[in-house]
Symmetry: C2
Subunit: 316 residues, 2 copies
């Protein structure tokens, strides 16, 4: 194994990271640089999520900067922690770099992580830096959250009659939003504190796939209204380029990192009416007891909605 | 992005994993399959460590089985949790696979993880499976631990006069031990409960490097005795093959995943005399106040011991 040319070496880079982390959150009992970090989660359960971003699958360094890749790596984790109704308290990050990487690249990755983590006062509490002969970059972020009093909000809690509400607008994220999004941490906490959601998920695989996850876990179905699905300007732009309808982008593209929430009708109406934060809120349909997911198009025709989001390792 | 041919697909594989995890530890409040898992750490701090294993750097699939790779991925994490003096309570695992991978490979990786995790009743509480066009395998395991009452044992606690004790024997791990070791979880907990260690680290980078980490963090030095360093049979075998002295293998090879502990003299003598578990225990030298690390060879000559373990991203 030939160590890479990396000014100052791995340990100097770790020292640099430790200096960046100095004075971080009070929940960080032991910071980077020991065998493990130690955090104080307070009382209650600790939510944990891990996501691996692979060059070529989750980001293309010809199109995005290393800083954006770092941002995305943290964003994906915080989005999952938010979707459980939990408050993020720490992240750890492991990075695999080609031997040809330089320190500036590694620092930019880290700075992108910090840019986003700092917005939520989340320390990057520890990590791992390693290298290989392959010419590809890998990042794996594990995010941790704590309960803020309520039970975690699962995918399995949706009930027939619930209204389905989504934040933001959907589709076309690959045009750039997928490396620049703000995870819906604050929005999720407000919804959980004041609107008693039954089920919640973040839209990472695509609305049609993620709604199917909720339906399967909750043993319910759904009917959504095409005319109500909030289509992002990015979806319109992508449609102009590739000719796929913008609604198809909104239903299937994935990586929106918006929230999908189901609530009983009164709470849903109150939530949409209050709109207690800047993010747009849209009721797009209802949970049903059919076990299948349908969409009513703008002509009033109802058809089954197949999961269309990207599935890694798709079956044969 | 072309999804890989993967019988049953990603979600079927995740379902399979969820079935494996059924009935797992009571600390698992929400298991695999939601946006995040939720664990109950009890009271006190939570230790967290993340390690990325890259094909070609940390394992060679021409020499080891996928099951062994999975075992190693968990072992590296549990070893770090142990070295903090904490008890492992959960792991999460992210895996990046070539698109050409088949389900049998993924299952073997997972089974290797479970083989080792089960020995310590540690649930694999969640994870991520993803794929890319690159022909390489990546695994990232994040392990979590909980306090068993005492404060975490850091690298920074060594004091001049301490005796340096290591478990097991060192060197030549790459001959096979690096994918089959049992992390020193139980030994670390016994040492912490009964022998008041001042500093502890697991030997992953190599004795000469890891002792240097302790020295730097603790602002101390060390003098070790060459004749006392426990040389593994693997180091002898490696020496026979490559002609490097077996002591050099024991000092520099890395990936032993043994513990290095510093304790005051009375506790160290008691520990070595009691030898309260099956693992060998050897006092190899003392902590000094010089700020540098020396080794006395078998002729009585003292020389400075340079960190010789492998350093990723070595400096220019």
């Amino acid at each position: 194994m030939t160590p890479i040319e990396f000014k100052g070496g791995e340990f100097a880079f770790i020292d640099w990271i430790r200096r960046q982390a100095a004075g971080a959150a009070e929940r960080l009992l032991v910071g980077p640089g020991d065998d493990a970090c130690v955090i104080d989660p307070g009382s209650g359960g600790v939510s944990v999520t891990t996501d691996m971003l692979l060059e070529g699958t989750h980001f293309d360094l010809a199109k995005v900067t290393p800083r954006e890749v770092g941002w995305k790596a943290i964003g994906v984790g915080l989005s999952d922690i938010a979707a459980m109704g939990t408050e993020p308290i720490a992240c750890v990050a492991a990075v695999g770099l080609p031997e040809s990487s330089d320190r500036a690249f590694a620092e930019a990755l880290y700075e992108g992580m910090r840019d986003l983590a700092d917005r939520f006062d989340v320390p990057i509490a520890g990590g791992d830096v390693t290298s290989w002969t392959a010419p590809h970059v890998v990042i794996c972020v594990t995010a941790l959250g704590r309960s803020t009093g309520a039970e975690p909000v699962l995918r399995s809690g949706a009930r027939p009659g619930d209204v389905i509400v989504v934040t933001g607008s959907l589709g076309g994220s690959l045009l750039g939003r997928h490396v620049r999004f703000i995870p819906r941490v604050n929005e999720a906490l407000v919804i959980c504190r004041e609107y008693a959601p039954h089920a919640m998920i973040d839209l990472s695989d695509g609305l049609s796939s993620d709604l199917a996850h909720v339906a399967v876990e909750s043993k319910v179905g759904a009917l959504i209204e095409e005319k109500l699905v909030p289509i992002s300007p990015d979806a319109e732009e992508a449609s102009g380029t590739d000719g796929r309808p913008s609604i198809a982008h909104a239903l299937d593209d994935g990586e929106d990192f918006e929230l999908l929430v189901t609530l009983d009708e009164a709470d849903a109406l109150r939530l949409v009416k209050d709109c207690p934060f800047d993010a747009r809120l849209t009721a797009i349909g209802n949970v049903t007891d059919t076990g299948e997911i349908f969409i009513r198009d703008n002509d009033g025709n109802v058809r089954q909605l197949e999961p269309g989001g990207y599935e890694h390792l798709r079956g044969t």
